[in-house]
Symmetry: D2
Subunit: 358 residues, 4 copies
C-alpha cells in the first residue's frame, strides 16, 4: 500500500506534484456539525506560504484553497472534504538539469530507484510543497479541536546552535510576530541574523521546533502500537527534513534516574494530575491530562547555492548547483506544518477514543 493516507478515523489522503496542476486532498472522517471558518484555513496556508519574508523562498504562490465538498452552510456534513490548491508559479525549466543529476541529500536517487520513473520538476511529489495539503487539513482539524477545548502551539526553539531561552510561559501571539516564528524576540533576532548570514553564503541550517498541546483530557491514545506519542512521532517524522522526535523528557530521559524522572500524582482541587511532567503528558501511550510537549529536529535544507559533486543516473560524475527557489532554513515555514500534523493526530485519536468503552 502506498503511503498517501494519514490517520485511522480522521484520514487525510493527499495528492499533488510540486510543478503539476494542483496540490490537494480529501479529509475523511470529520464528524458532521463542526462550524468551519474558511478564513482561518487560508491564514494557516499563508503562514506556510513561500515568498513572505527575507528568509524564505521567493517562489510566489497565492496558495488559495478551493473547498469542493463536505461543508454546507459553513458546517461540516460528515462527508469527505475535498480541496485543491493550484500551482501557479511553477517554473519547471529551473529543473531541467535534474533529469540528469541526483541532488545530494534529496529524494531524487531513492525515488527513481523505487518507481523507475519520476516527475523531476522541483522534486515532484517529494517536494515540501506537498505539506500544503497537511496545513489545509490541519486547519480544519484545529477547528474541531478548538470546540473540544484543545489548543496546539508550535514554535521555533532552535536554529543551528542558537537555542531559545527557557521561557516560563509566552503569549501564543508572539510566535507569528516575527519571521522566524520564535516567541522570544531577542532569540528571534539572533536566529534571523544567522539565517541571513548563511543565505548570503549560499548555505543552509537546521533547527528545532517545539510544541505543546493543551486541553487534552486523560484517556486519549491507543495502546499498544498506536500510543499517542507513537502517532505523534510518526506524524512528525513524515514531514520533509525531520531527523528526530522527542516526547517529554526525550533523550535526556536516558541519562536520568527513576527517582528524578517519575511524575508524582497529586490532587489539585479535586483533579488528579502530576506535579512534574517529564512524561510529556502521556503515560502508557495515553494522555494523562497534563500538557503534551514534544520536539522535532530538522536537518539543514539540502539545496545549497553552491556547486556540489554528485553523479547522474548513469553513475557518471556531475556537478549540481542549487537552482529553483529555496529556503535557507526550513523551520520557520515548518511551524504551521508541525502544528497541523499534531492537530490531525489529536483529532484522530480523540475520535478513536470514543470507541474504548461501552
Amino acid at each position: 500500500m502506498a503511503g498517501n493516507t494519514f490517520g485511522e478515523v480522521l484520514r487525510l489522503t493527499s495528492f499533488g506534484e510540486s510543478h503539476g496542476v494542483a496540490m490537494g486532498g480529501i479529509l475523511e472522517g470529520m464528524p458532521s456539525g463542526v462550524p468551519i471558518d474558511f478564513d482561518f484555513i487560508q491564514l494557516q496556508l499563508d503562514r506556510r506560504r513561500p515568498g513572505q519574508s527575507a528568509i524564505t523562498s521567493p517562489r510566489r504562490e497565492t496558495d488559495q484553497i478551493e473547498i469542493l465538498s463536505g461543508i454546507f452552510d459553513g458546517t461540516t456534513l460528515g462527508t469527505p472534504i475535498g480541496f485543491i490548491i493550484r500551482n501557479i508559479d511553477a517554473k519547471p525549466a529551473d529543473y531541467d538539469q535534474l533529469k540528469e543529476a541526483y541532488r545530494p541529500s534529496h529524494a531524487d536517487f531513492a525515488w527513481y530507484q523505487k518507481y523507475g520513473f519520476r516527475d523531476y520538476r522541483g522534486g515532484g511529489r517529494a517536494s515540501a510543497r506537498e505539506t500544503i495539503s497537511r496545513v489545509a487539513a490541519g486547519a480544519i482539524a484545529m477547528q474541531f479541536l478548538k470546540q473540544q477545548g484543545i489548543t496546539i502551539h508550535a514554535w521555533v526553539s532552535a536554529v543551528g546552535d542558537i537555542q531559545m531561552e527557557d521561557l516560563k510561559s509566552f503569549d501564543a501571539d508572539a510566535i507569528y510576530s516575527n519571521d522566524v516564528r520564535c516567541p522570544s524576540p531577542s532569540d528571534a533576532e539572533r536566529m534571523i541574523a544567522y539565517i541571513k548570514m548563511l543565505r548570503d553564503k549560499g548555505d543552509t541550517t537546521g533547527g528545532i521546533i517545539s510544541a505543546t498541546i493543551q486541553g487534552v483530557k486523560p484517556g486519549i491514545g491507543e495502546p499498544v502500537f498506536d500510543k499517542l506519542h507513537a502517532s505523534l512521532g510518526h506524524a512528525m517524522l513524515s514531514i520533509n527534513a525531520v531527523k528526530g522526535f522527542e516526547i517529554g523528557s526525550g533523550f535526556k530521559a536516558a541519562t536520568m534516574r527513576g527517582t528524578d524522572h517519575n511524575d508524582p500524582f497529586v490532587n489539585h482541587g479535586g483533579k488528579i494530575t502530576t506535579s512534574t511532567n517529564f512524561s510529556g503528558g502521556i503515560q502508557g501511550g495515553i494522555s494523562n491530562g497534563n500538557d503534551i510537549n514534544f520536539k522535532v529536529a530538522f536537518k539543514p535544507v539540502a539545496t545549497i547555492m553552491q556547486p556540489q559533486e554528485s553523479v547522474d543516473a548513469s553513475g557518471d560524475p556531475a556537478i549540481v548547483t542549487g537552482k529553483g527557489r529555496h529556503d535557507p532554513c526550513v523551520v520557520p515555514r515548518a511551524v504551521p506544518i508541525v502544528a497541523s500534523m499534531a492537530a490531525l493526530v489529536i483529532a484522530d485519536q480523540l475520535l478513536r477514543s470514543r470507541l474504548s468503552r461501552l
Copy 2:
C-alpha cells in the same frame, strides 16, 4: 480503532495481559515459502526473557512459544501464523495494592481514565510483558529478511551518562556476550556496575539503544506519510518507556549546515552510493542502499523500590512502594525488542515496495 495491530502488509496483531492466561499474536501477510527455524524464535524470546542475569527482573517465565498455524513442514504457508506464550510465573497477589493507588509514571491512571476498568495485575496489558509477541513475530520476520540479504543489529550504546565509545565496527556476536548487551566490553562493565549500584539503592536508570540495518536495497519506503524512518519511529515509540527517536544525524542535524550535512553521491565500482551517511540510509523517506542507522532513548524504569507519594482512585493520598519483580534498567532486555520491531517495519515495507511499479 484500537491499536493492537502493527504493519500494513505484514501485520502483527497481539493480545495478552501480563498476569492473564497467555500472551500471543497473529502474524498475517508473511508470504508462502519462507523456511522457518523454530529454535531461532525461541532464542530471541530467551534474549528478552526475565530472570537471566543479575541486572534483570527475577520473574521466572519459561516463555516457551507454541506455534499454532501458518507453518507446514517447516515452511510458511502464506496463511496467518498464530502463536501463544503462556504466563507461568504470575503472582497477581503482588499487585493487590494497585487496585487502589496509581503508580507514578506508570499507565495505571491514564489507562483507567480511558477504559473505566482494568486488569490491575502487573499492569495488565500495559506491562512490557506485551512485547514478547513482538519478539516472536520479529524473529519470524528476521528469517524472511535474512533470505533477502538483510540483517539487523541493535545494542545498548548508553546507560545513564555512560556512553559507549565510538567503535569503527564490531562483531555482532559481541552484543550478546555480556549482560548489558553493549558490544564494547569495557563500557559494558561500567554500565553493569552502574546498574547494580542503582539496583542496590532501589533506583533505576534510562539508556539508549542504537541499531543498524544492513542490506536494504534502494527503493524501500512509502512517501509521503509512511516514509521509512516514520514507520521506524512509530515502531520504536510504541515500545514501553521510549521517549525519543533519531534517524541518521538526528537532533545533531539541527545544529549543522547544509554544506556539512549533505551526503555526496559517488560511484563505487558501478554502484551509486553516498560517501557520508548523515541521512541514515534514507532520503525522501526511501532507502538509498546505505546502512540504516537509528537511536532510541528509554526513560528510567518507573517502578523503584522506594516509597513514593501518590493518590488513589478517589484522589486521596497514598504511598506506593515498588513490589513485583522489575528491572533496574530496561535497555538490556529491550535490545531484541528494538531489533524485532525494526524487522517488522523493514519486512512490511519491503513487501509494500513490491507494489510500486508495473
Copy 3:
C-alpha cells in the same frame, strides 16, 4: 494484504488450518465493560460443531474454546480478546491422495496456484472448519448487541427445491428445535428426508439461509462504499460455499415498478417508520429502523461420495473419491455462521456510527 481480518473498528483476525494444531483468532475493538457469558459462546460453537446429528459430518470435535485475554472478572477490558480451539479429531491420513489430485469445485487447485504450497490435509485453511473462529467472535459480538437491544436470527428457508412456507412470524426457539434449523416443523421434516435420501446416494444439495436483524436504530451504515448491506453482503459471501446474497426485495426488485416497490414513510405513534419493507431495513446504505432482512444462497457441498474425474498437479487424469467426513448439506451448520457474521457486521457498524456526529 492478506484477507484474514474482518471489520474496521471491531476486527476479527483468524488463523488455523483444519488439521493443524488449533483454530483461533483475536477479536479487537470490543469496548470495555461488556459482560460476557462464556456458556453462550460454547453454545454457539456447539451449534456449528460437526457430529451432532444424522445429517452432519461425523467428525468428532469437542470444539472447546479457551479464551486467553481481554476478559477480566467476566467483563471485557477493551483489550484484544485472544482465543483458541484445538483440533482434536484430525485424521490427516484421510487426505493423503489430495497431495496428488484436485477435488472438483474445491479450493485445491486455485489455492495451489496462488501460494505454490499448501497444507493439503482436509483443505487446510480453505476448510469450512475455519468458520469456527467466526462463530466464537460472533457470539461475543452478539452479547454486545444484546445489550444494545439488537437480536439476530438466521434459519434455513430452503433446501434444494424445498422452500419453507412464508411464516407470518415464528418463535426463534423453533429454529434450533430440529436438525435442519428450519422453524417450520413440517418443512423441516421434508428437508431432512431429502438430505438423508441424498446422503444415502453419496450426493449433496444446496440451500438458502434467511436472516432478520431486529432492534437496529436508524443511522447505522457508512456510505458510500461501506453501505450496511454491502458490509453484510461481503460478510456472507466470505462464508464457504456461498453463491448469492439478497437484501430486502433482492432479485425480485429487478422485476418490480417504483410504484410497487417504494416504502411509504408513516408515523407510528410518534415513530417514523415505513409501512412496507422492500428496502430490507436499509436505505441509502443506512439502517432506517425497520427489520433488516437478507438471504444467502449456498451451493451443494463439493465433496460427494462418488468417483469424479479430475486431474492431478501434473495435469494427468485422476479419479477423486470423497473421503473424510463431510456434510451432505451445509446449511444447517451454517445457520450460526450466518448469524455470527451478521453480528460482527452490525457491531462493527454500530461502533463506526459513533463517529458520524460532533
Copy 4:
C-alpha cells in the same frame, strides 16, 4: 471510520455532493509505468453521463474530468491520481421541498438520522451522481488491467420481466450500440419500449446487469474474508439501488445437487481448467482461470413522477412529488459503473496477489 474509501492496495477515496462545487477522488496505489489514455476515461464518463438518450435523466452535465496529479507524460508516476469533475447543471431550487419531506425509498430519512444535518439538494452525497468518481477511477484501472490481459464487460440482461435471451457469445461492441446497453438487439428494443411506457406513466422499473471478466489468471483473491467474489459483491452492493448479487450459479445453486454442480477439472492442451463453470471462475475465493461471471440486481428508481404519501421531519403527513431530473430505469447508465467497480476490485486483488509468495 467513514466509508468513502474502496480497496486495499489500489484505493479510491471519493468526495462530492450532487449539487456542490465538484465531484472527485483520489486513486492511490496505481503502480508507476502504466500508460494512460485520457480519451478512454472521458469515453467511460460519457457512457455514464445523463442526458444522452430518451430513456435517461435530462440533467445536462458535461462531466469533463480534470486530472490534477499522478500522471506525467501520459504515464502513471506511482503517486496518487487526483481528479475532479465540476457540477455544472445544478438546480438546487428543484429540491427546496426536500428540506421538509422524506422521499420514500430514498436515503433522506436514514441520512438525517445518521448525521443530524444534510445537504438536501438532489440527495447530496447520497445521489447516484457520486458514482462518477467510480467510473473515472475504474477507467484508469481498466487500462492497467488491459495491459495485464484482462477485459471486463457488463451489460443489461433484464429490465422488469424482460430477460435477455441466452446468447452463446456476443460482440462487446454490441453493448453500447443501443440506449439500453443490451447486446441482444431484439431484447434491447423491447426493453426500451417498456422503459418509455413506464416513463410516460411517471413510473420506473428495476433490472439486472450481468458481467464477465476474462483473462484473470488463477491465484487472485484473498481468503478467508476477502474472497474474490466477496470483494466483488461488496463493490456491487455499494452501488446505489443494488439489492442482490450472484456469483456463478448464484441462487440457482441452492436448488442443485453436488453431482450436477461440481466443475470437473480437465487438461485442455496443457492448461488445467474446468469443463463447466458453475463456480463462476472462483473457487475457495480464488480465481481458477475460467471466466468470472456475476449478476447484479437493481431496484426500480425511487423517484417516481407521481404524488406519494410520506411524512416530514416532524412526523407530519406530507405529499412528495418527483421533481428534479431522473432516470425511469437506472440499469443502462449503471453498466459502466458495474464494469468500473469490477475493474477496481480486480486491479486491487491482482496487486494484492503479488504479496502471496516469497
